[in-house]
Subunit: 194 residues, 2 copies
């Protein structure tokens, strides 16, 4: 059985999470950990005791959000439109990844590295996304040769681009819909001029 943590430890943990949220919002996932400890009013050693790696901190901040995305994928599985369900989910994934600068990178790294502290929640999310993709493919509305990995990379790549200076959430939406339906105009539309 696990013992309840000491009250001061519990409090420091919350202070650190709050400080990290603020620092990451300002400077992205690569924000200074020393600065996080400073903002929390806590020694740098205390930060490392609670979160041994930067990833552990990111994980603590985002865990629920990844779980939400997995839940969301599972609920979308029962929607009547397999195709739209996938597109909706990819847009939500991209929106989530846009929360912090550097987050798209963390997610791809976590999927690739089984040792990563983010791996479990990310992989669960990917598995749920895979079922959503498969269903859309079985319905014949999504290219059959695409893998979950490719589809996720695509969404995160566009989320990344929309995070860069000059980008916006508006840009992300436009890039996503472009990729979904193609940059190219189907040939039949060409001959269908007024």
């Amino acid at each position: 059985m696990t013992v309840a943590p000491r009250a001061d430890a519990e409090r420091n943990r919350e202070l650190l999470l709050g400080a990290a949220r603020a620092a990451f919002a300002e400077h992205g996932t690569d924000a200074s950990l020393r600065d996080v400890a400073r903002r929390a009013g806590v020694g740098i050693g205390t930060l490392y005791r609670h979160f041994p790696t930067r990833e552990a901190l990111v994980e603590a901040l985002l865990d629920c959000n990844f779980d939400d995305l997995r839940d969301r994928a599972e609920r979308l599985l029962t929607s009547p439109a397999p195709h739209e369900a996938l597109l909706t989910w990819l847009a939500e994934l991209a929106a989530e990844a846009r929360t912090y600068q550097g987050l798209p990178q963390s997610i791809l790294a976590a999927l690739d590295d089984e040792q990563s502290e983010l791996h479990v929640s990310c992989a669960a999310m990917r598995a749920a996304g895979a079922r959503l993709l498969r269903r859309a493919q079985d319905a014949g509305r999504v290219r059959a040769d695409l893998s979950v990995y490719e589809v996720i990379s695509l969404a995160l790549g566009l989320a990344w681009a929309a995070q860069q200076p000059g980008g916006s959430s508006d840009l992300m939406g436009r890039l996503l819909s472009t990729a979904m339906y193609g940059l190219t105009v189907p040939e039949r539309s060409v001959s269908a001029g007024s």
Copy 2:
């Protein structure tokens, strides 16, 4: 009139460029500048004298390559297939951006920041790409509402994704062609089952 630089200065410049090429290849655009100076066998002050900012160093390494991309776009303007010409060029842009980790980011930042040392060459490249895009749009084979900025962001976002752990140049090609023709299967194909 400009005077010829001292022979030792010229030599140090070349040593620094070679060292930077190697360091960037290993650790990306964010490689340690101190390490670059060390590899070049030169004092850190000498690096700063030749390249006052990290961007100046990147610019010196990539200048010709961006010019090449601009030339390439201009030559593609005379090709008989406006649509394929654009897709070819975007693939070449993405391949170039994949040279170093961090390069897609540098390019987008340079396009946004007129003060950037990379701005001039990047903006010239963008202008050439814009003409290529316009021609494909006029031919009716590319969505008319897309801007050069969006099309470049898309290509660089996918180049970025393919650079992440687990990625590959193969992935980049697949992501690009997916975005070009769409993740979605056109509806007519659905009813055209055997």
